[in-house]
Subunit: 160 residues, 2 copies
DNA sequence: ATGACTCATGTTATAACATAACACAAGGCC
DNA sequence: GGCCTTGTGTTATGTTATAACATGAGTCAT
């Protein structure tokens, strides 16, 4: 992403979506192709910076006139997860577009506002190192990191 | 807990359970009582240091001769979560006994071994501060922390 | 160009996880 | 006793996710 994303989403979202899609196209050039249904799911995920549930995506597709069944959506989501194009937020059973182009994108941390439901992706290498070091101190080798902090974002604090 | 817990559980587990139960009794002296069914669920959770699913608990209770329905178990689990006696591991939809007596016990971090399924609870204040600081840098106020690192524990690395 | 292979999709059914809503019981307490 | 709070029982249902099997669309070596 070459632009700032604020928690409230006061940004050029069309640009946001188009650059996400472009990045996805660029990444899926090999055997792993960004097919129609995968692209559609990715677009839906990127409609907001709020996490979206698999069944929300299904509803959205039904409204579109392209009704789908759960396996279709879960397959697309799993593909997008593998490609590092979306994240799964474990604490919400929901998905969000990956806003990082870094190699470590899937080591990201999330700040989830319980008021406005916005999820802000951090990609803080210091934090990642601190987490890995803590694990290493216990002899653990870390494969996967789930770091989800819930609370109230700056804007919602002001509003309250 | 006044004793070491190793990832492989090479410890005096009877002591482990009894001190967890004693701590629970001590905590639930006011209006929030540790009733029969709550105690039973807590005991089942403490049978191992592995996260246990709500429906595993139901199965366990059925085998005991005390069959229960899902709401019974979820109510007990919610009570135990409120009292800080168990944790929920979001990335596994499972529950584990809280091995911390500290005030910040619910800010814990977990190391989950994908081979032996053991979950080791860290309660690292440095890590907690680093996470809160990162959130604060984005203007977030943090209410709830989900930090779950999956990988391979020291013993399973040796075994492999 | 066809057979074999791989990858993606469609479809049905069901598994796994969690809660709503209502009825009832037990104990405190004025 | 009447009232209130807290906990439990029960039925039903909501929500999230996957298994299993059939079909189709493209590639590619022979």
């Amino acid at each position: 992403m070459d632009h700032a994303i604020t928690p409230t989403g006061q940004h050029d979202h069309a640009h946001c979506v188009s650059s996400a899609l472009a990045a996805a196209e660029a990444r899926c050039t090999g055997t792993a192709k960004l097919t129609q249904s995968r692209r559609r799911v990715l677009e839906i995920v990127w409609e907001s910076h709020r996490p979206v549930g698999a069944y929300d995506i299904l509803d959205r597709m039904a409204k579109d006139g392209n009704p789908a069944k759960p396996p279709t959506v879960y397959r697309a989501l799993n593909f997008l997860l593998e490609q590092g194009l979306v994240h799964r937020l474990e604490s919400m059973n929901a998905f969000i577009g990956c806003g990082s182009t870094s190699v470590d994108g899937h080591a990201a941390q999330f700040l989830i506002c319980r008021d406005c439901n916005m999820a802000l992706e951090l990609d803080d290498p210091t934090l990642r190192k601190a987490l890995d070091q803590a694990a290493r101190n216990s002899g653990f080798r870390v494969d996967r990191r789930v770091v989800e902090l819930s609370g109230v974002c700056a804007d919602c604090q002001k509003a309250a």
